[in-house]
Symmetry: C2
Subunit: 401 residues, 2 copies
C-alpha cells in the first residue's frame, strides 16, 4: 500500500480545524484527547474526561480516513488489510484541538478526529434503541404535533425518537384527508409494499381479503407474520371514526412475553421452541413462514410474538406436543387479553398512530358499520429507514451520533 500522496490533512475551513474523516456525520463529542501511550504497537488514548480506550495498530490502519484508504466519493473502505504487511505504528502524537496524528513505519500516516474516535471506539450507537420500556396500562401514549413534525428536522427527530423508544406515538392536528398520511410517511421513506399494496384502506370492504377489512373486532395481533421478516412499523391515519365501537388496542408484546416467562416458564419454552406455520393466501400470493410463536434473538431475548389467530396456520407436531402447545398458547392468549398490558386510545379523525409491529400487538373493538363510518389509511415502514432518517435529522440539527 503506497503512502497517502497528500499526507495527513486538516480541514481548512471553520474554526475547529478538525481532521477530515470522510464521514458525513460530525461526531462532535466536544471532548479532546488529553494524552496517549504507544507501546508494543498498541495505542492507548485518554480523553479530557478520563475516558480511555486501548486498540492495536491494525485497528487504526484499518480505519484510516485518508483518501487512498477510503474512497473519497463513495466514502467506503478501500484498504485491504489482508494484502498488506502488518502495520507498525512508528509515532503517535496529539495535534490541533486534541486530535490524533499517526505515522506508520512504511511512511503512511493520517490524522484522526477525537470526536470520531470517541464515538467509534468507545460510545456505541446502540443507544438509539437500548432498553425499551415495558409499559403497560398506565402508559400515556406520546402525542406530537403534526405541524412540528412536518415543519422541522428537530420535530421529525423528536417523533422518530419517541417511536423507537416507546414503540408507539400519535400525531395530532393532521388534516383528515386521503394523501396526508403519505406526506408524513415520505419524510421517512416510501411505504414498504406488501401483498396488500403500498398502502391500504382499513374500512368495511364488500369482498374482504383480510379480517381487517370487515367490521369484526380484531384481537390483538401482529401484522404479516406469515412473512419471514414482517414489516417493522405500521402507520394508521384516521380519516373517520364515528361509528359505535372501533376503539384501538395496543398491547406491549414484550411485557406479555416476560409475564409468561415468569408465571409459566415451561409454556414459554414450548412456544419458543415449537415452529408453527403462518400463512396468508389468495389468488395472487401464498406467503408462508414457519417459526415459533415466541421468537427469540441470538442472545435468547424475546424478539417478537408471532401472534395472529387469522394467519396462524396448522401446527405439525406429535399429539403430546400438540396438546402441550395448545395449553401454552391458551396461557399466552389470556395474557394478551389481560388489561394490564394494553392501552386503548380511540383514534379521532386527524390523528395518526405509528407503532412497532415487532414489540406491540394491535387490535380494535368491533364496530357497527350502520352507526357511522370508520376509515383508516395504513402502510408499513422499515426500522432501518426510520433509524437512517433519524440520523439524517440529527445530522441536520447538529446532534450526530
Amino acid at each position: 500500500m503506497a503512502p497517502s500522496q497528500e499526507g495527513p490533512k486538516e480541514e481548512k475551513t471553520g474554526p475547529a480545524k478538525r481532521p477530515v474523516m470522510l464521514d458525513l456525520a460530525s461526531y462532535s463529542s466536544g471532548q479532546r484527547l488529553r494524552s496517549l501511550d504507544l507501546s508494543a504497537n498498541i495505542l492507548t488514548l485518554t480523553w479530557e474526561d478520563g475516558a480511555e480506550v486501548t486498540l492495536p495498530a491494525l485497528w487504526f490502519r484499518d480505519n484510516c480516513p485518508c483518501g487512498s484508504c477510503r474512497h473519497e466519493e463513495t466514502l467506503e473502505r478501500r484498504y485491504l488489510f489482508l494484502d498488506d504487511a502488518p502495520p507498525h505504528l512508528e509515532t503517535a502524537e496529539l495535534v490541533g484541538e486534541g486530535h490524533l496524528r499517526l505515522r506508520y513505519a512504511d511512511g503512511h500516516g493520517a490524522d484522526f478526529d477525537a470526536g470520531w474516535l470517541r464515538h467509534h471506539a468507545l460510545d456505541l450507537p446502540a443507544s438509539l434503541e437500548a432498553d425499551p420500556p415495558l409499559w403497560g396500562a398506565e402508559h400515556e401514549i406520546a402525542r406530537l404535533s403534526h405541524a412540528r413534525v412536518m415543519g422541522s428536522e428537530a420535530g421529525l427527530s423528536e417523533w422518530l425518537g419517541v417511536i423507537l423508544r416507546d414503540g408507539l406515538a400519535i400525531l395530532e392536528g393532521m388534516p383528515a384527508e386521503p394523501g396526508e398520511m403519505l406526506k408524513v410517511v415520505r419524510r421517512v421513506q416510501e411505504p414498504k409494499p406488501t401483498n396488500f399494496g403500498p398502502t391500504f384502506e382499513v374500512m368495511t370492504h364488500p369482498k374482504p381479503v383480510s379480517s381487517a377489512y370487515t367490521a369484526m373486532g380484531l384481537e390483538p395481533h401482529a401484522d404479516l407474520i406469515n412473512y419471514a421478516v414482517p414489516p417493522d412499523f405500521q402507520v394508521l391515519a384516521c380519516l373517520k371514526n364515528d361509528a359505535t365501537g372501533g376503539g384501538s388496542v395496543f398491547v406491549n408484546a414484550h411485557a406479555v412475553a416476560k409475564a409468561l416467562s415468569e408465571t409459566s416458564p415451561d409454556s414459554f419454552e414450548v412456544l419458543a421452541q415449537t415452529p408453527v406455520e403462518f400463512r396468508f393466501h389468495d389468488e395472487t400470493c401464498d406467503i408462508r413462514h414457519q417459526a415459533p410463536v415466541i421468537e427469540l434473538d441470538r442472545s435468547g431475548q424475546v424478539r417478537r410474538l408471532r401472534f395472529n389467530n387469522w394467519l396462524r396456520g396448522t401446527l405439525a407436531a406429535p399429539s403430546w406436543r400438540a396438546a402441550a402447545w395448545y395449553a401454552a398458547y391458551a396461557e399466552l392468549w389470556a395474557l394478551v387479553r389481560d388489561p394490564r398490558f394494553r392501552v386503548t386510545p380511540r383514534l379521532k379523525a386527524g390523528e395518526m398512530v405509528v407503532f412497532d409491529n415487532v414489540r406491540v400487538l394491535h387490535g380494535r373493538e368491533a364496530y357497527d358499520p350502520t352507526s357511522g363510518g370508520r376509515h383508516l389509511q395504513g402502510c408499513y415502514l422499515d426500522r432501518d429507514w426510520i433509524l437512517s432518517r433519524l440520523r439524517l435529522a440529527e445530522r441536520a440539527s447538529g446532534q450526530d451520533r
Copy 2:
C-alpha cells in the same frame, strides 16, 4: 360456538368429491385414509401407505374448515379456541374417497380432505429449501431458457426451484435490452427497492456512490449487509460485457463458513460472537446495523456471512478482542479467496444471473473501461415472494405442496 349451519359439505363438482377445505391449494397426495382410531379424545389416522399420525381433538377443531370457523372470503381462521369449551370428539368416520368426517359432542362437525390432512399433519413444507448443497469449484451453474421461463408456469417453477436449491442460476437467450430484466422479475414480484433505487445500473459512473459503480475489481461480498435484513436475492442482467476483464465470481458462503468452523473453531466463534457495525451513508441515508460477521440462526446454524470490506464499519472492542477478531477475519478472508469455494462464469450479453445474497457471495474481476463496455442491470428480490410465486406456479400446474 354455534354448530355450522350447513353441516359437513362436499364439493359437488368434479370426479373426486373432495371435502372443501377453504384452501386454494389442492394438496392432492393421492393417498386415501385407510383407518382411524378415536380414543380418549385423541384421533389416530392411517393412510393407505401405512403413514400414521395421532392428534388431539383440539387440533381438528382449531383447523375446522367449515365456513363458520374459517372465513369463506379471506380464508383466514375465525374460530377462537380460547372462548370455547374444550372440544369433545363424539364420532370420527371415513367418508367418500377415504376422507375424514368428524362430529363433536356440541353438534359441530366437518369433513377433512385426506390429502390436506396428510400435508398439514405429516408432510411438512420445509422441503422447498431443505439441505441446500454446499457446492464448490466443481459446481456447474444451472442454465435455463429465458423463453421457457417466460412462456410457462412449469418453466417458471423449474427456474425458481433451482434458484432456491442451488442459490444461483443463469437464464440464457434473453434479449440484451434495457427493460427485459423487469419483464422477467415481474413474473415474481416488483423489485425490492433499496437506497440504490428499485433497480440499478452496474457500470462505470462518473460520480460513484458505491464501489460497484467503478471499474475496480470487487472482492466477493454480500450486498447491503448494513441493513438489519439485507435483500435475499440479487438479479443481474448482462446488457454488455466486452471489456477486458469483468468476469463474475460466486462463492458459496456456507461452504466457506463450514471450512472455517472445521479448521479454526476458535476463529469461527470470535466472528460469530463479536458484533461489528456495517454502514453505508451518503447525502440521502445513513443505514447501519451491528451484527457478527458470521450470523447464526436460532438453532446455531450459519445463516449468512456479513462479509463486505466496503460496508464493514468500525469494530468497537477492547484491544485483546480486536486483535483476535482481526486475526480471525483474516482467516475467513483467505478462505473467501480460496478457489475451492468459487465458480467464475463470465456473463455474456443476454444472460441473467439470480443468486442468493444470503448463501452466496459475489464479486468481479477488475475490467479496463477503455477496452470496451460492461453494463449490468440489477435489482433485488425477497425469498418470501420467490417461495410464494413458486407455490402459485405449482398450484397452476397441479403440483401443490
